[in-house]
Amino acid sequence: MENKAQAYWKRNLTLLYVLLFFWFISSYIFGIVLVDQLNTIQMGGFKLGFWFAQQGSQYVFIVLIFIYVYKMNKLDKEFEFDEE
C-alpha cells in the first residue's frame, strides 16, 4: 500500500517535471530570454519571438493542461486510485 502510493507519486512528479519544462520553455525562454534571436525568424507577419510572447505560449499552456489531465486519469486507473 505504502509503496504503491509512493510509486504513484513518483510517476506524478516525473510528469510534472516534463510538463513544467515545456511551460517554462514556451513562455520564459522563447517569449522573453531568446526573444531577440527568435525575432529574426519571420512567420507570416509575425516575428517568431513576439508571436510566442503574445500568442504561442497561451496555446502551449492549454495543450499542457489537457495532456496532464489525460495522463493523470490514466495513471489513476493504473494504480486504482481513481474515484469510484
Binding site: 502510493a5 504513484y8 507519486w9 506524478n12 510534472l16 510538463l19 513544467l20 511551460w23 513562455s27 520564459y28 517569449g31 522573453i32 530570454v33 526573444v35 525575432n39 512567420m43 507570416g44 507577419g45 509575425f46 516575428k47 513576439f50 508571436w51 510572447a53 503574445q54 500568442q55 505560449s57 497561451q58 496555446y59 499552456f61 492549454i62 499542457l64 493542461i65 489537457f66 496532464y68 489531465v69 493523470m72 486519469n73 489513476d76 494504480f79 486504482e80 486510485f81 481513481d82 474515484e83 469510484e84
Partner: protein, 578 residues
Amino acid sequence: MGIQGWTFLIVGLTFALYIGIAIWSRVGSTSDFYIAGSRVHPVANGMATAADWMSAASFISMAGMVAFLGYDGSVYLMGWTGGYVLLALLLAPYLRKFGKFTVPDFVGDRYYSDTARVVAIICAIFISFTYVAGQMRGVGIVFSRFLDVDITMGVIIGMVIVFFYAVLGGMKGITYTQVAQYCVLIFAYLVPVIFVSLMMTGNPIPQIGFGGTVADGSGEYLLDRLDGLMTDLGFDAYTDGSKPRIDVFFITAALMVGTAGLPHVIIRFFTVPKVRDARISAGYALIFIVLLYSTAPAVAAFVKTNLITSVNEVEYAEAPEWFHNWEATGLLQFDDKSGDGVIQFHADPDINELWVDPDIMVLASPEIAGLPNWVVGLVAAGGLAAALSTAAGLLLVLATAIAHDLLKRTMIPTMKEKTELITARVTVFFTVMIAGYFGINPPGFVAQTVAFAFGLAAASFFPAILMGIFFKRMNKEGAIAGMIAGIVFTASYIIYFTFINPEINNAEYWWFGISPEGIGTLGMLLNFAVALGVAKFTNKPPVHIQELVENIRVPRKMPSSSDMKKKKPNKPSGSNPE
C-alpha cells in the same frame, strides 16, 4: 436607435437575465453558499472561473495596456494565462481532495495552527479588497460614458445587483450568473474585433488577421506598418519593447504565481464534485480565458494602428466624433502646444499633444472603427459583465473569510450552520457597502495596488500551499516564517517605491533592475528559502498531518490509519487536537 438607446436596452436585458438566474438558484445551506454544494459541472465551472477571473482589468484595460506597451504588454498575456498551468498541475486537484471550503482552511489545517490560519485570512481579505476597488472603477467608467448617469449612481446600481444575487444565491447563484456573464462578455469582446479584423486585414479571425497583410492592396504586413508608424513618431518599435528583459521575466513570473495564489480563483476548484473534475475544469477555464487573451493583442494592434492613423496630424476641428465624446469624460485630452490646431502625437513629451487613458481603448474601439451603435452597446454590457462577475466572486471570498474562517473556525467554533449562513449574508452586505465606497471614491493608486495583490499572493499563499502538498516535512514554524518574510519583504519594497519615494521608482534604483510589479517573484523565492531553512531546524509536523498530506496526494478516498486506530479501544488517536 442611438448609442445610448442600444446600451440601455442591452445592459437592461443582461441585468434582467442575471437577476432571473439568482432567483432560480436560491440556497439554504452553508455548503451551497460557499462552494455551491460541490455539484457544479466542470464546463460550467470552467466558464464561471473564466468570468470570475476576467475582470474589468482584462476586459477593459488589458488590450489598451498592450496597445501602449507593445511587446512589453506580453507580461500580462503570459502572466495571466500561465498561472493556470501551475494551478491545474500543482494546486487544484489536491485542494479539491482536501475538501474544505477555503484557502485559509487549508493553510490552518495543514499547518495545524490558528496563527497560520489568521495570517492567511488577513492576506485573503487584503488581496480581495484591493481587487474589488479596481472592479468598481471599471463599473464607474462604463456607466459614466455610456449611460449618462454619474459614477455614484452607476456604482450604486452595480452594487445593488451584485448584492442581490450574492446574498440570495451565494456561490451557487454567483456560479450560474457567471456562466451567463461569461457568454455576454466573450460575445461582446469578439464581435467588434471580428468586424475590425475583416475590415483591416480581410481575415475574420483576429489571431491570424493581425499577423496578416493590410487590406489596402499594399501587401504590407500589419505589424510592420505599426512598427513603422511607431518609430516615425519617436517610439520604440511596437514588437520590440523597452523594458529590461530581467524585469519582463520577473513581472511575468509574479503575475503567473500570483494568479495561482489568488483566493477567489482557487476557491472555484472546491465547487466541482471530484478531483478529476478539478483538473479538467482548470483546462476548460484556460480555454475560455485564452479565447479572450489571444484576441487582446490583436485588438491592441488594430486599435493602435487605427488611433494613430485617424487622429495624428488631423485638425482638431476635423477630429472624429468619438474623439470629442471621450474628451468629455477627461480620459482623452488634447493640449495644443504648438498652437496650430492640429493634433500631434509623439514620444517626446515636449511635442506630444495627445494623452489617452489606456482604459478607454477597448470601449472606444468600435467607435474608432466606425461600427454600428448596437456593437457599442454590446461592449458596454460586456464590460459590466466582466466587472460584476469578478466583484461578486471577490465578495464571496471576503464573506467566507470573515464568516467561516475567522468567526466559525477561529473565534466561535460552536456557531450553528443557520447562524453562520446569516452571518455570511450580513458580511456580504457590509463588504458590498465598503466596496461601493471605494467605487465612488476610488483610491488614486488603483494601478499600484493591483501589483500589490499579485505580489502578495505570489509571496504568501503560493509557496505555503505548494510546500504543504509537495513537501511533507514542512512544518508550521517554517510555513509561518516563510509567509511573513515573503509578505513583509514584498510589501516593503512596493510601499517604498510607490508611496514613500515614488520619484526614484526607476530601473536605476531597483534591486537587480526589478520593478515593484515584479518583486513578488523575489518575495516568493525568499518565502521558500526562509521556510525551508526554518523547517530544517524545527520539529517535524505531527503524524496525522503527514497522513493528511499522503491522503490529499491520491484522488481516491483512502481509509486513513487514524480511522483504523479508532476501531481499536484504548489507543490514543493521533488526530485533531482541536
